[in-house]
């Protein structure tokens, strides 16, 4: 609370000096262009792309259409599955990295594969999964199957490759927060008789909430808007929302519809993001208090019991 004692003007000036370069940047290159898109979603489509200056709600009306509905539902379940996969893998990875002595090496090992162009890696996956690809040849050699399995061009392949593509985006934030986590708290909980898993879930998870929500946002949102992965490893029924938006811009030349879709997507994701940021912050603060209090109490008790002995 001592912060409040600082002169108000000084704070104002410093805050402005620190944050305004970014603020100006975003206003110029993000807010203004975004405003243009909002505007576009209410305009009439131009026959050959672009828009005509005439107000209409056509774009929003066109959106309610059973074909699009199915794509939205598919996008949702694929994104949820892939995000869950990423986070479930990323938690133990972040944990192991935080505990390791070779953090920088591991950090680089996680990132290096991503310095190879994503399309190249997607192609590599296609050749790994294809009927005469590496996985099938291996299985055939091992005598497990006698005919190549169809592993590629279906939604399963889409989920797998999406997990692959976005895994580091989950590992990095989780690693950063777990790294700051005070592991002695775990030991304390263990001393108090909690099982290892219990200690991790009850003591560590509440303390890495911010990392978890960051990981969630970093993976779920780009996966939700994925374009190349469903296009290249998906089958005939793997279209996701990202593909629709690109198709509207580049194939059917319906800019207002693409804009309207993006408006709705942005709105939904925004609500989600704010809800999570708010929740994460609140719970984090609460849990910090409660774990600390209970730990202190427990430690006191512990000492008391020991003292009695």
């Amino acid at each position: 609370m001592r912060k409040l004692l600082k002169p108000r003007e000084r704070e104002q000036m410093l805050g402005t000096a620190y944050a305004f370069p970014m603020g100006i940047w975003f206003t110029l290159f993000f807010t203004i262009p975004l405003g243009i898109i909002v505007l576009y979603s209410f305009l009439k489509r131009g026959l050959y792309g672009g828009v005509e200056w005439e107000f209409t709600l056509d774009a929003y009306k066109q959106m309610f259409n059973p074909s699009f509905g199915r794509v939205v539902i598919r996008t949702l379940w694929i994104s949820v599955l892939a995000t869950l996969g990423c986070i479930l893998i990323a938690i133990p990875c972040g944990y192991a990295m935080a505990k390791s002595k070779y953090q920088t090496v591991l950090l680089f090992l996680i990132i290096i594969p991503f310095w190879t162009n994503s399309l190249i890696r997607i192609y590599a996956w296609i050749s790994i999964l294809s009927t005469e690809g590496f996985v099938n040849s291996l299985l055939i050699k091992l005598g497990l199957i006698d005919q190549g399995l169809k592993l590629i061009y279906n939604n399963g392949a889409v989920v797998l490759v999406l997990i692959y593509m976005y895994l580091p985006f989950a590992i990095l934030p989780l690693f950063t927060t777990i790294d700051k986590f005070d592991f002695s708290l775990l030991d304390a909980a263990r001393d108090l008789g909690a099982s290892k898993l219990e200690a991790i879930i009850k003591v560590m998870f509440p303390n890495i909430k911010s990392g978890l929500s960051t990981a969630f946002i970093f993976t779920f949102i780009p996966i939700f808007g994925a374009y190349t992965v469903p296009l290249l490893v998906g089958g005939k029924d793997s279209t996701m929302i990202g593909n629709i938006i690109v198709d509207q811009v580049s194939k059917t030349r319906n800019w207002p519809l693409a804009s309207a879709f993006s408006m709705v997507l942005t709105f939904i994701s925004l609500v989600g993001v704010f809800w999570m940021l708010y929740n994460g912050k609140r719970e984090q603060m609460q849990s910090k208090k409660t774990t600390q209090q209970s730990l202190e109490q427990n430690i006191k008790k512990h000492h008391l019991i020991r003292g009695e002995k």
Binding site: L14, G50, P66, R70, Y123, T131, G133, R253
Partner: protein, 352 residues
Amino acid sequence: MHKSPTIATALTILLVSIFLISCQKDSPSQGKLYLYNWTYYTPDAIVEQFEKETGIDVIIDNFASNEEMFAKVMAGGNEGYDIIFPSSDYTSIMIKLDLLEKLDHKKIPNLKYIDPLIKEKASYDRNMDYSVPYFMGSSGIAVDTSKAPEGYARDWSIFSDERMDGRMSMLDDMREVLGAALKHLGYSGNTTNEQELSQAKDLIVTEWKPNLVKFDSESFAKSFSRGEFWVSHCYPENVFAEIPKDQWDTIDFFIPPEGGMMYIDNMVIPKGAKNSEAAHAFINFIHNPKVYAQFLDEFSFPPTTNTTASKYMKNHSFAFTSEDMSNSDNIMDLGQDLEKYNTLWQIIRYEP
């Protein structure tokens, strides 16, 4: 002042980096020719030869579909390209929208080598006022004979063949796929009749799509060469480029006798081109039969556009010939009516 020096340093570095970047960008000068072309569509050897002969520096940017190219031209205006290579439907759109510069035929004497057949098909610009054909070709069907069962149909009904369920792909392109179905039903590939279109959609949804593994315009050639697809609705040059020459006899490529959808790719000079002189020179250079023969040989293309070039060609076996395309329709711009195709295509593509 509290403006800390760090921020000042940061800004300085920022400005310097911006400066460095702006230096990077080369502005079009007299000696530079900017092409906006399909990937791999102009052999490097030809470009080098042109550079050597004229001293003009050629810079090529690539696009993978007409729509991509057009979205950019529409949104950004012409951003300094001197020659663009759109297909016929987009050529006609660009003419309608007054985006193209009128060509000076005096500067392109080699126009005389262009096959009159093309002029017939190019209804949007018969006199080549705005566009010069670069190549006329067609999509078709490639079958991997080492995998496909005996006695498959050599027409569009091959996609109804349940023996190859999950092993066939069609292009992810509404004009190509709906066009194929329309031709199979005996209609025009540019029809705007809703009943005909709806029949075509039903044919695709009930007969063809269940057997397809994917609508693929991007990597069909790779998947075909890998044995993943046994039958591909494709552009032949992509497939043949991916497969070694000694295995070409296992590929059966044909344009269905009912006809299919064909294309003419053109060279056009957009309004605002900085180097129109060099652009005319390049167009003329391409249609020099000796040069054009090199281009055809590079892709094993048949001499559909510039027949004189065949004299200088080394390759004489082609995936298809002009005659194969006699029943095919050139993809035309449909204006407002394209929306009918869009609606049906959404059902085909998005509903399982």
